[in-house]
Protein backbone atom coordinates (compact mmCIF):
# COMPACT_ATOMS: atom_id res chain seq x y z
CA UNK A 1 0.00 0.00 0.00
CA UNK A 2 1.28 3.42 -0.94
CA UNK A 3 1.97 5.70 2.05
CA UNK A 4 1.21 9.47 2.28
CA UNK A 5 5.01 10.03 2.33
CA UNK A 6 5.43 8.21 -1.00
CA UNK A 7 2.50 10.19 -2.48
CA UNK A 8 4.14 13.44 -1.32
CA UNK A 9 7.48 12.42 -2.87
CA UNK A 10 5.84 11.56 -6.16
CA UNK A 11 4.01 14.88 -6.18
CA UNK A 12 7.27 16.77 -5.68
CA UNK A 13 8.99 14.81 -8.45
CA UNK A 14 6.31 15.78 -10.95
CA UNK A 15 7.91 19.22 -11.38
CA UNK A 16 11.58 18.42 -10.90
CA UNK A 17 13.06 21.79 -11.84
CA UNK A 18 10.67 23.72 -9.61
CA UNK A 19 11.34 21.37 -6.69
CA UNK A 20 15.11 21.58 -7.26
CA UNK A 21 15.08 25.39 -7.33
CA UNK A 22 13.08 25.49 -4.09
CA UNK A 23 15.53 23.04 -2.52
CA UNK A 24 18.46 25.22 -3.61
CA UNK A 25 16.80 28.25 -1.99
CA UNK A 26 16.29 26.38 1.30
CA UNK A 27 19.79 24.93 1.12
CA UNK A 28 21.42 28.34 0.63
CA UNK A 29 19.51 29.95 3.48
CA UNK A 30 20.38 27.01 5.76
CA UNK A 31 24.03 27.29 4.72
CA UNK A 32 24.11 30.99 5.61
CA UNK A 33 22.22 30.45 8.87
CA UNK A 34 24.30 27.54 10.19
CA UNK A 35 27.55 29.28 9.17
CA UNK A 36 26.42 32.40 10.99
CA UNK A 37 25.54 30.41 14.13
CA UNK A 38 28.90 28.62 13.82
CA UNK A 39 30.71 31.95 13.47
CA UNK A 40 28.89 33.39 16.50
CA UNK A 41 30.10 30.50 18.60
CA UNK A 42 33.53 30.01 17.03
CA UNK A 43 34.70 33.63 16.97
CA UNK A 44 34.09 34.25 20.66
CA UNK A 45 35.67 30.90 21.55
CA UNK A 46 38.75 31.67 19.44
CA UNK A 47 39.02 35.17 20.89
CA UNK A 48 38.80 33.84 24.45
CA UNK A 49 41.45 31.26 23.65
CA UNK A 50 43.75 33.94 22.20
CA UNK A 51 43.29 36.10 25.29
CA UNK A 52 43.88 33.17 27.64
CA UNK A 53 47.00 32.29 25.68
CA UNK A 54 48.36 35.76 26.34
CA UNK A 55 48.97 34.43 29.84
CA UNK A 56 48.11 37.73 31.51
CA UNK A 57 44.91 39.73 31.78
CA UNK A 58 46.42 43.20 32.05
CA UNK A 59 49.25 44.96 30.29
CA UNK A 60 50.84 48.17 31.48
CA UNK A 61 52.62 50.21 28.82
CA UNK A 62 54.21 53.58 28.50
CA UNK A 63 51.73 56.08 27.07
CA UNK A 64 51.45 55.91 23.30
CA UNK A 65 52.25 52.23 23.16
CA UNK A 66 49.12 51.00 21.37
CA UNK A 67 50.83 52.46 18.33
CA UNK A 68 53.95 50.53 19.18
CA UNK A 69 53.61 47.91 16.49
CA UNK A 70 53.26 50.57 13.81
CA UNK A 71 56.15 52.51 15.32
CA UNK A 72 58.35 49.44 15.30
CA UNK A 73 57.50 48.81 11.67
CA UNK A 74 58.01 52.35 10.50
CA UNK A 75 60.93 53.55 12.57
CA UNK A 76 62.79 50.37 13.37
CA UNK A 77 62.13 50.69 17.07
CA UNK A 78 63.56 54.18 17.47
CA UNK A 79 60.17 55.57 18.43
CA UNK A 80 59.49 53.12 21.25
CA UNK A 81 58.44 54.44 24.63
CA UNK A 82 59.89 52.99 27.75
CA UNK A 83 59.13 52.58 31.45
CA UNK A 84 61.39 52.26 34.44
CA UNK A 85 61.88 48.66 35.50
CA UNK A 86 61.30 49.67 39.14
CA UNK A 87 57.62 49.97 38.25
CA UNK A 88 57.43 46.18 38.35
CA UNK A 89 58.06 46.20 42.11
CA UNK A 90 55.50 48.96 42.67
CA UNK A 91 52.80 47.02 40.84
CA UNK A 92 53.72 43.74 42.55
CA UNK A 93 52.73 45.29 45.88
CA UNK A 94 49.09 45.55 44.82
CA UNK A 95 46.92 42.95 46.59
CA UNK A 96 45.13 41.88 43.38
CA UNK A 97 48.32 40.94 41.52
CA UNK A 98 49.14 37.25 41.32
CA UNK A 99 52.10 37.23 38.94
CA UNK A 100 53.95 39.89 37.03
CA UNK A 101 56.52 39.90 34.26
CA UNK A 102 58.56 42.69 32.65
CA UNK A 103 58.96 42.70 28.87
CA UNK A 104 61.15 44.66 26.49
CA UNK A 105 60.20 44.77 22.82
CA UNK A 106 62.95 45.77 20.43
CA UNK A 107 63.24 45.95 16.67
CA UNK A 108 66.40 46.11 14.60
CA UNK A 109 66.75 46.97 10.96
CA UNK A 110 67.99 44.12 8.78
CA UNK A 111 69.19 45.46 5.41
CA UNK A 112 69.34 41.95 3.95
CA UNK A 113 65.69 41.11 4.33
CA UNK A 114 63.52 41.69 1.27
CA UNK A 115 64.36 44.13 -1.49
CA UNK A 116 64.90 47.17 0.69
CA UNK A 117 65.44 45.70 4.14
CA UNK A 118 63.08 44.72 6.92
CA UNK A 119 62.60 44.69 10.66
CA UNK A 120 63.66 41.89 12.98
CA UNK A 121 61.68 41.96 16.23
CA UNK A 122 62.85 40.56 19.58
CA UNK A 123 60.95 39.95 22.78
CA UNK A 124 63.06 40.39 25.91
CA UNK A 125 61.55 38.30 28.73
CA UNK A 126 62.50 37.44 32.28
CA UNK A 127 63.21 33.67 32.49
CA UNK A 128 62.15 33.64 36.15
CA UNK A 129 58.66 35.09 35.69
CA UNK A 130 57.68 34.81 32.01
CA UNK A 131 57.43 30.97 31.70
CA UNK A 132 54.90 30.93 34.57
CA UNK A 133 52.67 33.19 32.47
CA UNK A 134 52.74 30.70 29.61
CA UNK A 135 52.31 27.30 31.24
CA UNK A 136 50.90 25.92 27.99
CA UNK A 137 54.21 26.41 26.14
CA UNK A 138 55.73 23.09 25.10
CA UNK A 139 59.22 22.79 23.73
CA UNK A 140 59.77 20.98 20.45
CA UNK A 141 63.41 20.78 21.49
CA UNK A 142 65.61 22.38 24.16
CA UNK A 143 64.25 24.62 26.91
CA UNK A 144 64.34 28.10 28.46
CA UNK A 145 67.52 30.23 28.90
CA UNK A 146 70.12 29.35 31.53
CA UNK A 147 69.82 32.81 33.13
CA UNK A 148 68.61 36.35 32.55
CA UNK A 149 71.81 37.52 30.88
CA UNK A 150 72.71 34.48 28.77
CA UNK A 151 73.52 35.04 25.11
CA UNK A 152 70.69 32.74 24.10
CA UNK A 153 67.36 32.76 22.29
CA UNK A 154 64.19 30.68 22.35
CA UNK A 155 62.30 30.68 19.08
CA UNK A 156 58.64 30.20 18.27
CA UNK A 157 58.05 27.35 15.82
CA UNK A 158 57.47 29.52 12.76
CA UNK A 159 60.36 31.84 13.59
CA UNK A 160 62.64 28.78 13.75
CA UNK A 161 61.16 27.47 10.52
CA UNK A 162 61.74 30.77 8.72
CA UNK A 163 65.27 31.08 10.08
CA UNK A 164 65.96 27.35 9.57
CA UNK A 165 67.27 27.08 13.14
CA UNK A 166 67.75 24.07 15.39
CA UNK A 167 68.83 23.96 19.02
CA UNK A 168 72.57 24.63 19.12
CA UNK A 169 72.57 26.88 16.02
CA UNK A 170 73.61 30.51 16.21
CA UNK A 171 71.60 33.59 15.28
CA UNK A 172 72.79 37.12 14.66
CA UNK A 173 71.01 40.27 15.83
CA UNK A 174 71.09 42.59 12.81
CA UNK A 175 72.42 46.13 13.21
CA UNK A 176 74.24 45.08 16.41
CA UNK A 177 75.93 41.95 15.00
CA UNK A 178 75.56 40.14 18.32
CA UNK A 179 75.58 36.35 18.16
CA UNK A 180 73.04 34.40 20.23
CA UNK A 181 72.71 30.65 20.62
CA UNK A 182 69.38 28.89 20.05
CA UNK A 183 68.59 26.92 23.23
CA UNK A 184 64.93 26.16 22.70
CA UNK A 185 62.33 25.85 19.95
CA UNK A 186 58.66 25.91 20.92
CA UNK A 187 55.90 23.69 19.63
CA UNK A 188 53.26 25.43 17.56
CA UNK A 189 50.73 27.33 19.65
CA UNK A 190 48.64 28.77 16.84
CA UNK A 191 49.21 32.25 18.32
CA UNK A 192 51.55 35.18 17.62
CA UNK A 193 54.11 33.45 19.87
CA UNK A 194 54.87 31.10 16.94
CA UNK A 195 56.63 33.93 15.13
CA UNK A 196 58.39 35.39 18.18
CA UNK A 197 62.07 35.31 19.08
CA UNK A 198 62.50 35.40 22.89
CA UNK A 199 65.72 36.74 24.38
CA UNK A 200 66.62 37.03 28.11
CA UNK A 201 65.56 40.49 29.26
CA UNK A 202 68.97 41.61 30.46
CA UNK A 203 70.64 40.32 27.29
CA UNK A 204 68.28 42.33 25.12
CA UNK A 205 68.73 45.40 27.34
CA UNK A 206 72.49 45.03 26.92
CA UNK A 207 72.24 44.65 23.15
CA UNK A 208 69.84 47.61 22.81
CA UNK A 209 71.90 49.63 25.31
CA UNK A 210 68.87 50.47 27.39
CA UNK A 211 67.96 49.60 31.00
CA UNK A 212 64.21 50.12 30.69
CA UNK A 213 61.25 48.01 29.60
CA UNK A 214 58.30 48.58 27.26
CA UNK A 215 55.59 46.43 28.83
CA UNK A 216 54.53 44.77 32.08
CA UNK A 217 52.28 41.71 31.93
CA UNK A 218 50.04 41.18 34.95
CA UNK A 219 48.16 38.05 35.95
CA UNK A 220 45.40 38.89 38.42
CA UNK A 221 44.52 36.68 41.40
CA UNK A 222 41.47 34.48 40.99
CA UNK A 223 38.30 36.32 42.09
CA UNK A 224 40.22 39.62 42.40
CA UNK A 225 38.52 42.80 41.21
CA UNK A 226 40.27 43.59 37.91
CA UNK A 227 38.52 46.95 37.51
CA UNK A 228 39.72 48.07 40.94
CA UNK A 229 43.29 47.12 40.01
CA UNK A 230 42.97 48.89 36.66
CA UNK A 231 41.89 52.08 38.43
CA UNK A 232 44.88 51.85 40.75
CA UNK A 233 47.25 51.32 37.84
CA UNK A 234 45.83 54.35 36.03
CA UNK A 235 47.16 56.44 38.92
CA UNK A 236 50.73 55.53 37.92
CA UNK A 237 52.56 58.24 36.04
CA UNK A 238 52.86 58.15 32.22
CA UNK A 239 51.47 54.69 31.76
CA UNK A 240 48.38 53.26 30.25
CA UNK A 241 46.63 50.04 31.06
CA UNK A 242 45.32 47.62 28.50
CA UNK A 243 42.83 45.14 29.86
CA UNK A 244 42.19 42.11 27.70
CA UNK A 245 38.58 42.00 28.84
CA UNK A 246 38.26 45.55 27.44
CA UNK A 247 40.05 44.51 24.28
CA UNK A 248 37.66 41.59 23.95
CA UNK A 249 34.63 43.82 24.48
CA UNK A 250 35.88 46.30 21.88
CA UNK A 251 36.55 43.58 19.34
CA UNK A 252 33.18 41.96 20.01
CA UNK A 253 31.49 45.35 19.52
CA UNK A 254 33.26 45.74 16.18
CA UNK A 255 32.28 42.25 15.15
CA UNK A 256 28.67 42.66 16.30
CA UNK A 257 28.04 45.12 13.45
CA UNK A 258 29.18 42.51 10.95
CA UNK A 259 27.11 39.88 12.76
CA UNK A 260 23.96 41.99 12.58
CA UNK A 261 24.50 42.54 8.86
CA UNK A 262 25.01 38.86 8.16
CA UNK A 263 22.05 37.95 10.36
CA UNK A 264 19.89 40.38 8.37
CA UNK A 265 21.06 38.73 5.15
CA UNK A 266 20.28 35.31 6.66
CA UNK A 267 16.77 36.45 7.66
CA UNK A 268 16.13 37.83 4.17
CA UNK A 269 17.43 34.55 2.70
CA UNK A 270 15.08 32.56 4.95
CA UNK A 271 12.12 34.78 4.00
CA UNK A 272 12.91 34.28 0.32
CA UNK A 273 13.20 30.53 0.88
CA UNK A 274 9.88 30.53 2.74
CA UNK A 275 8.22 32.43 -0.10
CA UNK A 276 9.68 29.82 -2.46
CA UNK A 277 8.19 27.01 -0.38
CA UNK A 278 4.76 28.72 -0.31
CA UNK A 279 4.94 29.27 -4.07
CA UNK A 280 6.02 25.71 -4.89
CA UNK A 281 3.50 23.97 -2.66
CA UNK A 282 0.65 26.33 -3.52
CA UNK A 283 1.28 25.91 -7.27
CA UNK A 284 1.34 22.17 -6.73
CA UNK A 285 -1.96 22.32 -4.84
CA UNK A 286 -3.66 24.48 -7.50
CA UNK A 287 -2.49 22.16 -10.26
CA UNK A 288 -3.84 19.14 -8.40
CA UNK A 289 -7.26 20.54 -7.43
CA UNK A 290 -9.19 17.87 -9.41
CA UNK A 291 -7.06 15.09 -7.87
CA UNK A 292 -7.65 16.45 -4.40
CA UNK A 293 -11.36 16.61 -5.20
CA UNK A 294 -11.36 12.95 -6.26
CA UNK A 295 -9.46 12.01 -3.06
CA UNK A 296 -12.17 13.72 -1.06
CA UNK A 297 -14.97 11.97 -2.93
CA UNK A 298 -13.21 8.72 -2.07
CA UNK A 299 -13.44 9.54 1.63
CA UNK A 300 -10.30 11.59 2.38
CA UNK A 301 -10.91 14.03 5.22
CA UNK A 302 -9.64 17.67 5.17
CA UNK A 303 -7.06 16.65 7.81
CA UNK A 304 -5.71 13.89 5.53
CA UNK A 305 -5.25 16.35 2.66
CA UNK A 306 -3.70 18.90 5.01
CA UNK A 307 -1.17 16.29 6.28
CA UNK A 308 -0.34 15.19 2.72
CA UNK A 309 0.49 18.72 1.61
CA UNK A 310 2.33 19.48 4.82
CA UNK A 311 4.42 16.32 4.31
CA UNK A 312 5.57 17.77 0.97
CA UNK A 313 6.70 20.92 2.80
CA UNK A 314 8.44 18.80 5.42
CA UNK A 315 10.32 16.82 2.74
CA UNK A 316 11.40 20.00 0.94
CA UNK A 317 12.66 21.66 4.13
CA UNK A 318 14.23 18.49 5.50
CA UNK A 319 16.25 17.74 2.36
CA UNK A 320 17.15 21.43 1.78
CA UNK A 321 18.14 21.85 5.42
CA UNK A 322 20.31 18.73 5.54
CA UNK A 323 21.97 19.69 2.24
CA UNK A 324 22.63 23.24 3.52
CA UNK A 325 24.21 21.92 6.72
CA UNK A 326 26.27 19.46 4.67
CA UNK A 327 27.57 22.26 2.45
CA UNK A 328 28.27 24.45 5.49
CA UNK A 329 30.35 21.65 7.04
CA UNK A 330 32.08 20.89 3.74
CA UNK A 331 33.01 24.52 3.13
CA UNK A 332 33.59 25.54 6.77
CA UNK A 333 37.31 25.99 6.03
CA UNK A 334 36.56 28.18 3.01
CA UNK A 335 34.06 30.24 5.03
CA UNK A 336 36.70 30.57 7.73
CA UNK A 337 39.24 31.94 5.23
CA UNK A 338 36.68 34.31 3.72
CA UNK A 339 35.70 35.66 7.15
CA UNK A 340 39.38 36.13 8.02
CA UNK A 341 39.89 38.28 4.94
CA UNK A 342 36.89 40.46 5.68
CA UNK A 343 37.24 41.00 9.43
CA UNK A 344 39.54 43.68 10.86
CA UNK A 345 40.83 41.22 13.47
CA UNK A 346 40.58 37.45 13.36
CA UNK A 347 41.88 35.36 16.26
CA UNK A 348 43.81 32.17 15.61
CA UNK A 349 42.04 28.81 15.41
CA UNK A 350 38.73 27.94 13.80
CA UNK A 351 36.34 30.88 13.46
CA UNK A 352 33.38 28.85 12.22
CA UNK A 353 32.59 26.00 14.62
CA UNK A 354 29.64 23.82 13.63
CA UNK A 355 28.81 20.88 15.89
CA UNK A 356 25.95 18.39 16.02
CA UNK A 357 23.86 20.49 18.39
CA UNK A 358 24.14 23.56 16.22
CA UNK A 359 23.34 21.57 13.07
CA UNK A 360 20.19 20.13 14.71
CA UNK A 361 19.15 23.57 15.99
CA UNK A 362 19.46 25.04 12.49
CA UNK A 363 17.66 22.11 10.91
CA UNK A 364 14.87 22.49 13.49
CA UNK A 365 14.58 26.24 12.75
CA UNK A 366 14.46 25.68 9.00
CA UNK A 367 11.89 22.89 9.25
CA UNK A 368 9.78 24.99 11.63
CA UNK A 369 9.95 27.99 9.27
CA UNK A 370 9.13 25.72 6.35
CA UNK A 371 6.15 24.12 8.07
CA UNK A 372 4.88 27.58 8.92
CA UNK A 373 5.12 28.48 5.22
CA UNK A 374 3.28 25.29 4.31
CA UNK A 375 0.31 26.10 6.55
CA UNK A 376 -1.58 28.20 4.00
CA UNK A 377 -1.20 25.86 0.99
CA UNK A 378 -2.09 22.86 3.19
CA UNK A 379 -5.11 24.67 4.64
CA UNK A 380 -6.24 25.70 1.15
CA UNK A 381 -5.89 22.10 -0.07
CA UNK A 382 -7.86 20.81 2.90
CA UNK A 383 -10.75 23.19 2.11
CA UNK A 384 -11.17 22.08 -1.52
CA UNK A 385 -14.78 21.23 -2.37
CA UNK A 386 -14.79 17.95 -4.29
CA UNK A 387 -17.53 18.53 -6.85
CA UNK A 388 -16.47 22.11 -7.53
CA UNK A 389 -12.87 21.14 -8.22
CA UNK A 390 -13.80 18.19 -10.45
CA UNK A 391 -16.29 20.36 -12.37
CA UNK A 392 -13.65 23.08 -12.83
CA UNK A 393 -11.36 20.52 -14.48
CA UNK A 394 -14.11 19.44 -16.87
Amino acid sequence: MITPFQVACKNLLRKKVRTLLTLVGIMLSTWVLVSLFGFNRGYEKALNRDIENMGYQLMVMAKGCPYEAATMMLQGGTGLRYMEQSMVNDIMEEAEVDKITPILMQAFFDPNKGESGGIAGYFGVDPDSYPAMKPFFRFRSGGWFRDNSAAEVVMGYEAAELEQREVGDMTLVPEKNVQLKVVGILERTGTQDDGTIFVPLKTLQRIAEIDKITTIGIKVKKDADITKLENKLYQLKDVQVVSFSQVKQTIMKLISTARVMVLSIAIVAILIAMAGVVNTVLMSVLERMPEIGILKTMGAMPGDIFRLVWTETLILCGIGGVAGIGFALLFARGTDLLVRRILPYAPSGGLVVIDGGLALLTLGSIVAAGLLSGLYPAWKAGRVRPLESIRRDG
Partner: protein, 212 residues
Protein backbone atom coordinates in the same frame (compact mmCIF):
# COMPACT_ATOMS: atom_id res chain seq x y z
CA UNK B 1 17.71 14.26 -11.02
CA UNK B 2 20.36 11.75 -9.89
CA UNK B 3 22.90 12.98 -12.44
CA UNK B 4 22.33 16.61 -11.37
CA UNK B 5 22.93 15.67 -7.72
CA UNK B 6 26.07 13.73 -8.72
CA UNK B 7 27.41 16.77 -10.57
CA UNK B 8 26.75 19.01 -7.56
CA UNK B 9 28.48 16.53 -5.23
CA UNK B 10 31.52 16.27 -7.55
CA UNK B 11 31.80 20.06 -7.79
CA UNK B 12 31.59 20.37 -4.00
CA UNK B 13 34.34 17.78 -3.50
CA UNK B 14 36.55 19.44 -6.12
CA UNK B 15 36.22 22.82 -4.41
CA UNK B 16 36.93 21.27 -1.01
CA UNK B 17 40.09 19.58 -2.31
CA UNK B 18 41.44 22.68 -4.01
CA UNK B 19 40.71 25.15 -1.20
CA UNK B 20 43.82 26.71 0.41
CA UNK B 21 45.90 24.89 2.98
CA UNK B 22 45.10 25.23 6.69
CA UNK B 23 46.75 27.99 8.69
CA UNK B 24 49.10 25.56 10.43
CA UNK B 25 50.75 24.28 7.25
CA UNK B 26 54.53 24.44 6.98
CA UNK B 27 56.10 27.69 5.83
CA UNK B 28 57.00 27.69 2.14
CA UNK B 29 59.08 30.30 0.35
CA UNK B 30 57.14 33.19 -1.13
CA UNK B 31 58.16 36.51 -2.59
CA UNK B 32 57.58 39.23 0.01
CA UNK B 33 55.72 41.43 -2.44
CA UNK B 34 55.00 39.55 -5.69
CA UNK B 35 53.28 42.54 -7.34
CA UNK B 36 56.52 44.50 -7.02
CA UNK B 37 59.07 41.65 -7.15
CA UNK B 38 57.81 39.84 -10.28
CA UNK B 39 58.27 42.81 -12.68
CA UNK B 40 61.69 43.46 -11.13
CA UNK B 41 62.87 39.85 -11.57
CA UNK B 42 61.11 39.36 -14.93
CA UNK B 43 60.99 42.80 -16.58
CA UNK B 44 59.13 41.68 -19.72
CA UNK B 45 56.28 40.16 -17.71
CA UNK B 46 52.80 41.64 -17.78
CA UNK B 47 51.12 39.28 -15.32
CA UNK B 48 51.74 36.20 -13.20
CA UNK B 49 49.85 33.28 -11.76
CA UNK B 50 50.67 31.65 -8.42
CA UNK B 51 50.68 27.85 -8.31
CA UNK B 52 51.29 25.68 -5.24
CA UNK B 53 52.69 22.17 -5.31
CA UNK B 54 54.10 19.71 -2.83
CA UNK B 55 56.04 16.45 -2.94
CA UNK B 56 53.09 14.74 -1.24
CA UNK B 57 50.81 15.74 -4.12
CA UNK B 58 53.22 14.68 -6.85
CA UNK B 59 54.32 11.23 -5.73
CA UNK B 60 54.97 11.15 -1.99
CA UNK B 61 57.87 9.33 -0.35
CA UNK B 62 59.34 7.64 -3.50
CA UNK B 63 59.37 11.03 -5.25
CA UNK B 64 61.05 12.63 -2.23
CA UNK B 65 63.79 9.96 -2.30
CA UNK B 66 64.33 10.63 -6.00
CA UNK B 67 64.78 14.35 -5.33
CA UNK B 68 67.08 13.67 -2.35
CA UNK B 69 69.22 11.38 -4.52
CA UNK B 70 69.59 14.13 -7.11
CA UNK B 71 70.54 16.60 -4.38
CA UNK B 72 73.04 14.16 -2.88
CA UNK B 73 71.66 14.83 0.58
CA UNK B 74 69.37 12.85 2.84
CA UNK B 75 67.53 15.99 3.89
CA UNK B 76 66.24 18.50 1.37
CA UNK B 77 66.22 21.16 4.06
CA UNK B 78 65.21 21.67 7.63
CA UNK B 79 61.50 22.13 8.25
CA UNK B 80 60.63 20.80 4.80
CA UNK B 81 58.15 17.98 5.40
CA UNK B 82 56.70 16.11 2.48
CA UNK B 83 53.64 18.38 2.44
CA UNK B 84 55.48 21.71 2.47
CA UNK B 85 53.79 23.93 -0.12
CA UNK B 86 56.25 25.19 -2.74
CA UNK B 87 55.16 28.39 -4.45
CA UNK B 88 55.67 28.73 -8.19
CA UNK B 89 55.06 31.99 -10.01
CA UNK B 90 54.15 31.36 -13.65
CA UNK B 91 55.12 34.44 -15.61
CA UNK B 92 53.12 35.72 -18.57
CA UNK B 93 53.69 38.31 -21.25
CA UNK B 94 50.15 39.15 -22.33
CA UNK B 95 48.58 35.69 -22.56
CA UNK B 96 51.79 33.80 -23.36
CA UNK B 97 53.73 32.04 -20.65
CA UNK B 98 57.36 33.19 -20.75
CA UNK B 99 58.93 31.71 -17.62
CA UNK B 100 58.89 30.94 -13.94
CA UNK B 101 60.04 32.33 -10.60
CA UNK B 102 60.60 29.92 -7.75
CA UNK B 103 62.28 30.17 -4.36
CA UNK B 104 63.53 27.78 -1.68
CA UNK B 105 64.62 28.03 1.95
CA UNK B 106 68.10 26.89 2.89
CA UNK B 107 69.97 26.86 6.14
CA UNK B 108 72.67 29.49 6.60
CA UNK B 109 75.12 30.08 9.46
CA UNK B 110 73.00 32.65 11.31
CA UNK B 111 69.58 32.29 9.71
CA UNK B 112 67.55 31.08 6.78
CA UNK B 113 68.57 31.87 3.22
CA UNK B 114 65.84 32.38 0.62
CA UNK B 115 67.13 31.76 -2.90
CA UNK B 116 64.93 32.76 -5.83
CA UNK B 117 65.55 32.27 -9.53
CA UNK B 118 63.67 33.50 -12.56
CA UNK B 119 63.93 30.94 -15.37
CA UNK B 120 62.90 30.97 -19.01
CA UNK B 121 60.86 28.13 -20.45
CA UNK B 122 64.00 26.09 -21.17
CA UNK B 123 65.14 26.25 -17.54
CA UNK B 124 67.96 28.79 -17.98
CA UNK B 125 68.38 31.31 -15.18
CA UNK B 126 67.44 34.86 -16.16
CA UNK B 127 67.71 36.46 -12.72
CA UNK B 128 69.14 35.27 -9.43
CA UNK B 129 67.89 36.87 -6.21
CA UNK B 130 68.58 36.22 -2.53
CA UNK B 131 65.54 37.56 -0.70
CA UNK B 132 66.92 36.91 2.79
CA UNK B 133 70.32 36.09 4.23
CA UNK B 134 71.87 36.89 7.62
CA UNK B 135 75.47 37.79 8.39
CA UNK B 136 77.90 40.66 8.67
CA UNK B 137 78.84 40.49 4.98
CA UNK B 138 75.46 39.24 3.76
CA UNK B 139 75.08 42.24 1.47
CA UNK B 140 77.82 40.91 -0.80
CA UNK B 141 75.67 37.89 -1.67
CA UNK B 142 72.85 40.24 -2.65
CA UNK B 143 75.10 42.32 -4.84
CA UNK B 144 74.06 42.56 -8.51
CA UNK B 145 77.56 41.55 -9.65
CA UNK B 146 77.30 38.25 -7.74
CA UNK B 147 73.79 37.62 -9.08
CA UNK B 148 74.94 38.17 -12.68
CA UNK B 149 77.33 35.21 -12.39
CA UNK B 150 74.37 32.85 -12.28
CA UNK B 151 72.63 34.21 -15.39
CA UNK B 152 72.41 31.59 -18.14
CA UNK B 153 73.08 28.63 -15.84
CA UNK B 154 70.81 25.61 -15.80
CA UNK B 155 70.54 22.32 -13.90
CA UNK B 156 73.15 20.76 -16.25
CA UNK B 157 75.80 23.09 -14.83
CA UNK B 158 75.54 21.20 -11.55
CA UNK B 159 76.40 17.84 -13.19
CA UNK B 160 80.09 18.14 -12.43
CA UNK B 161 79.74 20.05 -9.18
CA UNK B 162 78.75 18.80 -5.74
CA UNK B 163 77.49 21.72 -3.64
CA UNK B 164 77.38 19.53 -0.53
CA UNK B 165 81.15 19.00 -0.53
CA UNK B 166 81.89 22.12 -2.59
CA UNK B 167 84.04 20.13 -5.02
CA UNK B 168 83.89 19.80 -8.77
CA UNK B 169 84.44 21.59 -12.04
CA UNK B 170 82.42 23.71 -14.43
CA UNK B 171 80.87 27.15 -14.33
CA UNK B 172 79.53 26.79 -10.77
CA UNK B 173 83.00 25.97 -9.42
CA UNK B 174 84.31 29.16 -11.04
CA UNK B 175 81.97 31.37 -9.04
CA UNK B 176 84.03 32.70 -6.17
CA UNK B 177 82.74 33.27 -2.66
CA UNK B 178 82.10 37.06 -2.40
CA UNK B 179 82.25 36.99 1.43
CA UNK B 180 85.13 34.80 2.69
CA UNK B 181 83.92 35.22 6.29
CA UNK B 182 80.62 33.53 5.35
CA UNK B 183 81.76 30.22 3.84
CA UNK B 184 78.79 28.29 5.31
CA UNK B 185 76.38 30.71 3.66
CA UNK B 186 78.25 30.56 0.33
CA UNK B 187 77.76 26.78 0.17
CA UNK B 188 74.23 27.28 1.51
CA UNK B 189 73.45 29.59 -1.41
CA UNK B 190 74.79 27.05 -3.93
CA UNK B 191 72.92 24.20 -2.23
CA UNK B 192 69.77 26.32 -2.27
CA UNK B 193 70.28 27.08 -5.96
CA UNK B 194 70.72 23.40 -6.83
CA UNK B 195 67.69 22.47 -4.72
CA UNK B 196 65.70 25.16 -6.52
CA UNK B 197 66.75 23.94 -9.98
CA UNK B 198 66.19 20.25 -9.13
CA UNK B 199 62.71 20.97 -7.77
CA UNK B 200 61.87 23.02 -10.87
CA UNK B 201 63.22 20.24 -13.11
CA UNK B 202 61.17 17.57 -11.32
CA UNK B 203 57.99 19.56 -10.84
CA UNK B 204 57.85 21.62 -14.02
CA UNK B 205 60.34 20.93 -16.80
CA UNK B 206 60.29 17.10 -16.67
CA UNK B 207 56.50 17.22 -16.88
CA UNK B 208 56.64 19.61 -19.82
CA UNK B 209 59.19 17.39 -21.57
CA UNK B 210 56.78 14.50 -21.11
CA UNK B 211 53.98 16.34 -22.90
CA UNK B 212 53.30 15.20 -26.49
Amino acid sequence: MRSVMMKIACLALLLACTSPLPALAAVGCDLNDPARDVPRLFPESTSYKTVYFSIAQRGGAPFQRKIENRLGNAYIALYAPIDVPYTLYEIYRDKKKVGYIHGVNQKGQFGGIQVFVAQDLTGRIKTFYIQKITGKSAGRFRDAAFARKFVGLSIRDFDSYDPVSGKGTGRIAEIANPAPDMVTDYYGVLRGLKKNLVLMDEFVFSMERGKP
